[in-house]
């Protein structure tokens, strides 16, 4: 706990219990105001501030965000107060000969709080949403992981058809060339770097897939997917039925013969000329192939949050002696 009666010194107030209490209740008040303001301005000033984002408050400054602009320095002061008080407390306990780990439970909890604040800052300013990627049988770029393709999907269903569990097996080709198989599902993302990069399952189902070829290069694309042909990206924007023909047409975005990006419809057996007069042909369209939708996030705050969680768990475990249900001098009975 912070020092109950801080010794002299002009800056002793910075580590005082009273300042900690003021910062704590100030944080409660500002967050409460903020929750109401954000609910009221969800379609206005707070639109676009999602997940754990903090950048949105500063990239589009607004008087509606005043509570956050006040909260940031307040929390910084709170962190300074906690740091100074904890150092002082640990120093005094150590000098008094206290060596039992439980004597430092509160210091561990304070450390967890400080690391959690750092985690919020890292996550709030550095997290990046990498968008969604449809994975089917062909290799697709999966930002942060290299390339991946779907090797298979198993779905356990409840009576009525609702999925109970989804296990999608992915083949992943890392940027360093290594390959691995991974199973993803709801609550079971593909992750790397202690959670700093995540690919989260959003949906599963079946998707129409168009198979293209260009010389020796082949790729199979669902809507929204892209691949490299002769080193240039080719993206399938849409598949659409064509009256009078059994096969759908594919809307493709690619670099044309002059290097400019073009969007063209291609029929089965038809050709699209790419850069360097390289022809791209649509060979076939498979109407329904297993596919999964993954959302990719760069989340550098997660390892920090994990560290905070470990410290918080450790601190609470060290508190167990104080949690007994009854003590001498306890509450009276009628």
């Amino acid at each position: 706990m912070p020092s109950a009666s801080p010794p002299g010194g002009r800056l002793a107030w910075l580590r005082s219990q009273g300042l900690g209490v003021i910062c704590g209740y100030g944080t409660v008040l500002l967050l409460a105001v903020g929750s109401v303001v954000m609910a009221l301005t969800r379609e206005g000033a707070s639109a676009g501030i999602g997940q754990d984002d903090l950048t949105g408050f500063f990239l589009r400054p607004s008087p509606a965000h005043l509570w956050l602009y006040l909260l940031v320095p307040l929390v910084a002061l709170y962190a300074l107060n906690t740091t100074l008080a904890t150092l002082d407390n640990v120093r005094r306990r150590w000098r008094a000969g206290q060596r039992a780990p439980s004597a430092y439970a509160v210091a561990v909890l304070h450390a967890a709080f400080l690391v959690a604040l750092a985690a919020h800052a890292v996550a709030g300013f550095l997290s990046v949403d990498g968008g969604t990627t449809v994975l089917a049988s062909s290799w697709q770029p999966l930002p942060g992981f290299g390339e991946a393709r779907l090797a298979g999907v198993e779905v356990d269903r409840l009576p009525g058809g609702m999925p109970e569990e989804v296990r999608a097996t992915l083949e992943v080709r890392r940027p360093d060339g290594s390959r691995e198989r991974a199973v993803v599902g709801y609550d079971r993302p593909l992750s790397a770097g202690w959670g700093a990069r995540l690919a989260l399952l959003q949906d599963e189902g079946r998707a129409a897939v168009a198979r293209f070829s260009s010389g020796a290069d082949h790729c199979a694309l669902a809507e929204g997917q892209r691949c490299l042909v002769g080193g240039d990206p080719v993206e399938l924007l849409a598949l659409s039925a064509v009256p009078g023909t059994p096969d759908p047409a594919a809307l493709v975005r690619a670099s044309g013969p002059d290097g400019r990006v073009v969007e063209r419809w291609v029929m089965r057996g038809g050709l699209l000329m790419l850069r360097n007069a390289r022809p791209l042909s649509l060979d076939t369209v498979i109407p329904a192939e297993p596919a999964v939708l993954l959302r990719v996030r760069q989340t550098p705050g997660v390892p920090w949050a994990l560290a905070a969680a470990v410290l918080l768990t450790l601190g609470t475990a060290l508190l167990w002696r104080r949690l007994g249900p009854r003590r001498p001098g306890d509450a009276p009975q009628d």
Binding site: S5, S46, G195
Partner: protein, 255 residues
């Protein structure tokens, strides 16, 4: 079909629990010491109700409004049993809160609903019960606060401090479990979502509350902790009920 068939006897079990709590309230009016037994009966009936629903759902039974409010009553009942004090001023408000929660549970549809796949994780049945037990601990702290205002016995202050600490520990563990779930399900342990923001508010409030006892300028003002325990209950109501019904749709909206 969104869930398995709901046996009519399930509702009877919940109604019986409500009746047991009503008996506990009446007994507490006359002989608070004896209120422990009908309270225990009500908790046992509610545990049976939850277990039965869980067996039918083949998962942790907390997917709708009725189950949520019933869990709030059950958690408060469990804390009331563990931190039982034979005092009218303490028991009556606790039983009133439990009665209100159970009345809400009975007012909502009782149909069983399959949990969506995103709930089918270890982190859900750890995060949610720990949250409700923390709610129960803080509700009991508020009841002890009311009791302090009736007789000014210093023993209530010790109970308030300990219940606040229980709540803080349970809530911290709940936030850890919820945070891990948030990462694996949504890619973030924190969201600008009313329920999550208010969870952080409750954590800051509880953490700050624990420091009050040690603040020199507050040691001559014993009323502060009982008063703030009651204020904490108001924050709890906003976090639990307010964010689900009055802040718009969020990630924690009831099904």
């Amino acid at each position: 079909m969104t869930g398995p068939a709901t046996p009519p006897a399930l509702l009877l079990l919940l109604q019986a629990a409500a009746a047991a709590y009503a008996v506990a309230f009446l007994v507490a009016l006359r002989r608070p010491r004896l209120a422990r037994w009908p309270l225990l009966a009500g908790v046992a009936l509610q545990l049976g109700w939850s277990l039965w629903r869980g067996l039918l759902l083949r998962f942790f039974p907390l997917t709708g409004k009725a189950e949520s409010f019933a869990a709030a009553a059950l958690a408060t009942g469990l804390v009331a049993l563990v931190a039982f004090r034979a005092s009218r001023a303490y028991l009556l408000p606790l039983l009133l809160v439990m009665g209100a929660a159970l009345a809400a549970a009975l007012a909502f549809p009782q149909a069983l609903r399959w949990p969506p796949p995103i709930m089918r994780t270890l982190w859900y049945p750890t995060h949610v019960p720990l949250s409700f037990l923390a709610y129960g601990a803080w509700t009991a702290a508020a009841a002890a606060g009311l009791a302090w205002f009736t007789d000014r016995e210093p023993g209530w202050l010790a109970l308030i401090d300990r219940l606040a600490l229980w709540g803080f520990v349970l809530w911290s563990l709940s936030m850890i479990c919820g945070g891990v779930w948030g990462v694996v399900a949504w890619g973030a342990w924190f969201l600008w979502d009313p329920k999550v923001v208010w969870s952080v508010i409750l954590w800051f409030n509880a953490a700050t509350f624990l420091h009050l006892r040690l603040t020199p300028s507050l040691q001559q003002r014993p009323w502060v902790r009982p008063a703030l325990a009651l204020a904490g209950f108001a924050l709890l109501l906003v976090a639990y009920v307010g964010t689900s019904f009055f802040f718009g749709k969020g990630s924690h909206a009831f099904g």
